[in-house]
C-alpha cells in the first residue's frame, strides 16, 4: 500500500468523525471520575463529623462511581457500534492488523523513533501502529475488564435477582475465587488505566509537537493536518 503513489496535496483529511471525538472526551472524563471515586471507595476520606443521618459521603462517592460507570459502559457500547458503521479509522483500535508484516514494521519503526534511533517518524492519517497496539491492549481490553468486573461487583449490591448478578456476578466471582479477589483485580486494572493515561497524554502532546501530523486538534475538530507534503505511510 505504501508503495503505491498517491498525491497528498490536500492540506487536511477528515479522520475522526464526531461520534469518535465525542466518545473520546466523554470517556476520558468518565475514566477520571471513576479513578478518583474508585480510589476513595478503596481508601475512604477521613471520618465525617456529626450524625449519620446528616451525612452521605460514601453514598455520593459510590453514586458518582456508578453514574460514571454507566456513562462509560454505554459510551463504549456506542463506540463499538460506531466501529461498524463509521469510517475505517473508527475500527483501528479494535482490530490491530497483527498478521500484517507492514504493521509490525511500523510498530518497530515507531519504537525506534521513541528510542531516538530513527531520525524521523512515519506519517500517518490514522493512528500510528504503536498507538493502535497500545490502545488496543491497555485501553480496549482494560475497558472490557473494568466493565465486566465492575458489573460483577455492582450485582453483589443489586442482589440475586438483578440482571447484573445473573449475567456478571454469578460467574465472574467464582472465576476469580471470591468477591475480594474481584475487588483486588478491579483495583489493579485501575492502575493499568492510569499508566495508559500518563503515557497517552504525554505521547499525544509530544507527537503534536514532534511528529509530521496534527494530533490534539485532530481529536477536537476531526481534521488531520500535515506538516510536510510527502506521502503518508498508511496509504489512505
Amino acid at each position: 500500500m505504501s508503495t503505491s503513489t498517491k498525491s497528498h496535496s490536500e492540506p487536511a483529511v477528515y479522520v475522526y468523525e464526531a461520534p469518535v471525538r465525542i466518545w473520546h472526551w466523554i470517556n476520558a472524563l468518565a475514566i477520571i471520575v471513576l479513578c478518583i471515586t474508585g480510589y476513595f471507595i478503596g481508601s475512604p476520606p477521613p471520618t465525617m463529623p456529626g450524625e449519620a443521618s446528616d451525612n452521605f459521603l460514601m453514598g455520593y462517592i459510590r453514586f458518582a462511581h456508578f453514574a460514571a460507570a454507566y456513562i462509560f459502559i454505554i459510551g463504549f457500547l456506542g463506540r463499538i457500534y460506531w466501529a461498524f458503521v463509521g469510517n475505517s479509522h473508527a475500527r483501528q483500535i479494535f482490530f490491530p492488523p497483527i498478521f500484517s508484516g507492514e504493521f509490525w514494521d511500523g510498530v518497530f519503526h515507531e519504537a525506534k523513533w521513541y528510542l531516538f534511533i530513527a531520525k524521523e517518524p512515519r506519517k500517518y492519517t490514522g493512528h500510528n501502529p504503536m498507538a493502535v497496539i497500545f490502545m488496543h491492549i491497555m485501553l480496549v481490553w482494560g475497558t472490557i475488564f473494568m466493565i465486566f468486573t465492575g458489573l460483577a461487583l455492582y450485582g453483589e449490591g443489586a442482589g440475586y435477582d438483578s440482571w447484573q448478578y445473573t449475567y456478571f456476578s454469578g460467574w465472574i466471582i467464582p472465576l476469580f475465587g471470591q468477591s475480594q479477589d474481584v475487588h483486588t483485580f478491579h483495583h489493579l486494572v485501575m492502575w493499568v488505566l492510569i499508566l495508559f493515561i500518563i503515557m497517552h497524554v504525554y505521547v499525544a502532546i509530544r507527537e503534536d509537537i514532534m511528529s509530521r501530523q496534527s494530533l490534539v486538534s485532530t481529536m477536537i475538530s476531526g481534521w488531520r493536518t500535515f506538516k510536510d507534503k510527502r506521502d503518508v505511510d498508511d496509504g489512505h
Binding site: A52, N55, E156, G177, Q180, M190, I198
Partner: protein, 361 residues
C-alpha cells in the same frame, strides 16, 4: 413403626412446648412464614428420621461446638438428638471398635439414604508422599470419607474446612488439605456447602430440617451454598451500614468513632465481600455478632480468607510481587516508574528537538 425425629426428642425428655419453639425458630431462620412452623412440626412428627453420619477430618471442631450451642437452650437438645444417634466421634457415647462398627452398620442399613455431614477435610498429600496425617481407626481419613460418601444421599460440607479448605489449607498447605468438592473419587452424591468458621448453628440445623421437611435439598447458588442463607453479604444487612454510607469510620482501635459504633471498613472489615447470615441471624441466639461486638468481619465463610493478607487491612495483599503489597502500592510504584520515564523522555525529546533545530539553521 418408623422412628421420627419427634419420637427421638420425646424419648430424650424434650417437651412438646420446646419442640414447637424449635420449629418456629427454624422457620424464621429459613425466612419462611410462620405457617411453615406447623409444616416443619408435622414433618418431624411423621417422617422417618434422617440418619446422619458426622465425620471429622482435619478440623478444629468449631463446627460441632457451634452446632451444640444452637440458639435456644432447649433447641440445643433437640438438635443434639437429631445427630448424635448415628455417628459423630466427638459427641457420641460409643468409642473405639464399637464406634467404627456403627459407621458400617449405618451404611448398610441406610444405603443411599443417609446424610454424610463432613466437618473438616482430608489431607491428600499422604497419597502422594506417604506422609501421615489424620488417621482414624488405623486408616487415613480419606478412605473413610470416600467409603461413606459413595453410599450417601447427600453430603453436607460443614464449615469453611470442608467447603473451602480453611486454615489447614493455607499456603504452603503441608498436608494437602483439600475441600470435599475437590476430593477425587467421591462418588456422585450432591454436596451442600455450609461455610463459616464455624457456620451459624441455626443455619446448620435449618439445613437438616429443610431436607427433612421438604424432602429435597435446599436450592443452592453457583458455588453450592444454600441460597436462603448465603445470598447476601454481611455488608448488605449490617446495622452499621448507615455509618458506611455517611462516611463515618473507625480509624483506629478505641478512638471516639469506635466507641460510637461507626463502620469498621477501614479496620479491614470484610463484610462487603462476605456472604453469610451473621448480620441477620446473628450468633448465640441472635444476641450479637462480631461486628456488633466491635470487631471487623474477617470473611470466615469465604474461600481463601486465610491467605489474603491481614485481617485488619482493607486492601488485599498481593503476594505475586515478592513483597506483600496491595493494589495501590503496586500501582503507585508502577506510576512512579512510568511517570519518571515520561519525564526523562520528555527532557531528552526537548533536547533533541533543540539540537535538530540548531542543525537546520
Amino acid at each position: 413403626m418408623v422412628e421420627t425425629f419427634y419420637d427421638v426428642m420425646r424419648r430424650q425428655g424434650i417437651t412438646r412446648r420446646s419442640f414447637l419453639k424449635f420449629c418456629g425458630l427454624t422457620a424464621a431462620a429459613m425466612g419462611l412464614s410462620p405457617a411453615y412452623a406447623g409444616k416443619i412440626a408435622h414433618a418431624m412428627e411423621t417422617k422417618p428420621r434422617i440418619p446422619v453420619l458426622w465425620l471429622h477430618g482435619l478440623e478444629c471442631t468449631c463446627c460441632s461446638e457451634s452446632f451444640i450451642r444452637s440458639a435456644h437452650p432447649l433447641a440445643k437438645d433437640v438438635i443434639l438428638s437429631m445427630i448424635s444417634l448415628d455417628y459423630d466421634d466427638t459427641i457420641m457415647a460409643a468409642a473405639g471398635h464399637q464406634a467404627e462398627a456403627i459407621i458400617e452398620e449405618t451404611i448398610e442399613k441406610y444405603d443411599g439414604n443417609y446424610i454424610l455431614a463432613c466437618e473438616g477435610n482430608p489431607g491428600l498429600e499422604q497419597e502422594h508422599t506417604g506422609g501421615m496425617s489424620c488417621i482414624i481407626a488405623g486408616k487415613p481419613f480419606t478412605e473413610q470419607l470416600r467409603h461413606a460418601a459413595k453410599h450417601a444421599k447427600a453430603i453436607i460440607s460443614w464449615g469453611s474446612c470442608a467447603s473451602w479448605g480453611c486454615v489447614q489449607a493455607a499456603s504452603p498447605n503441608p498436608t494437602g488439605a483439600t475441600p470435599i468438592h475437590k476430593v477425587p473419587d467421591l462418588g456422585n452424591a450432591p454436596i451442600i456447602k455450609v461455610p463459616g468458621c464455624p457456620p451459624i448453628a441455626e443455619v446448620m440445623t435449618a439445613v437438616i430440617t429443610y431436607i427433612l421437611t421438604f424432602e429435597k435439598l435446599p436450592s443452592l447458588d453457583r458455588q453450592g451454598r444454600p441460597k436462603m442463607f448465603y445470598s447476601q453479604r454481611i455488608h448488605d444487612k449490617c446495622y452499621r451500614r448507615p455509618h458506611f454510607d455517611a462516611g463515618q469510620f473507625v480509624e483506629k482501635w478505641d478512638d471516639e468513632a469506635a466507641r460510637k459504633g461507626y463502620c469498621l471498613y477501614k479496620m479491614g472489615c470484610k463484610g462487603p465481600t462476605t456472604y453469610n447470615a451473621c448480620s441477620t441471624i446473628r450468633w448465640n441466639g441472635g444476641l450479637s455478632f462480631p461486628i456488633q461486638a466491635g470487631h471487623p468481619c474477617i470473611g470466615c465463610s469465604e474461600d481463601g480468607f486465610w491467605d489474603k493478607g491481614g485481617f485488619y487491612n482493607r486492601l488485599t495483599s498481593i503476594h505475586q510481587f515478592g513483597v506483600e503489597e496491595n493494589a495501590d502500592e503496586v500501582g503507585i510504584a508502577a506510576a512512579t516508574v512510568v511517570g519518571g520515564a515520561v519525564a526523562v523522555h520528555a527532557a531528552v525529546s526537548a533536547l533533541k528537538r533543540t539540537q535538530s533545530k540548531g542543525d537546520q539553521e
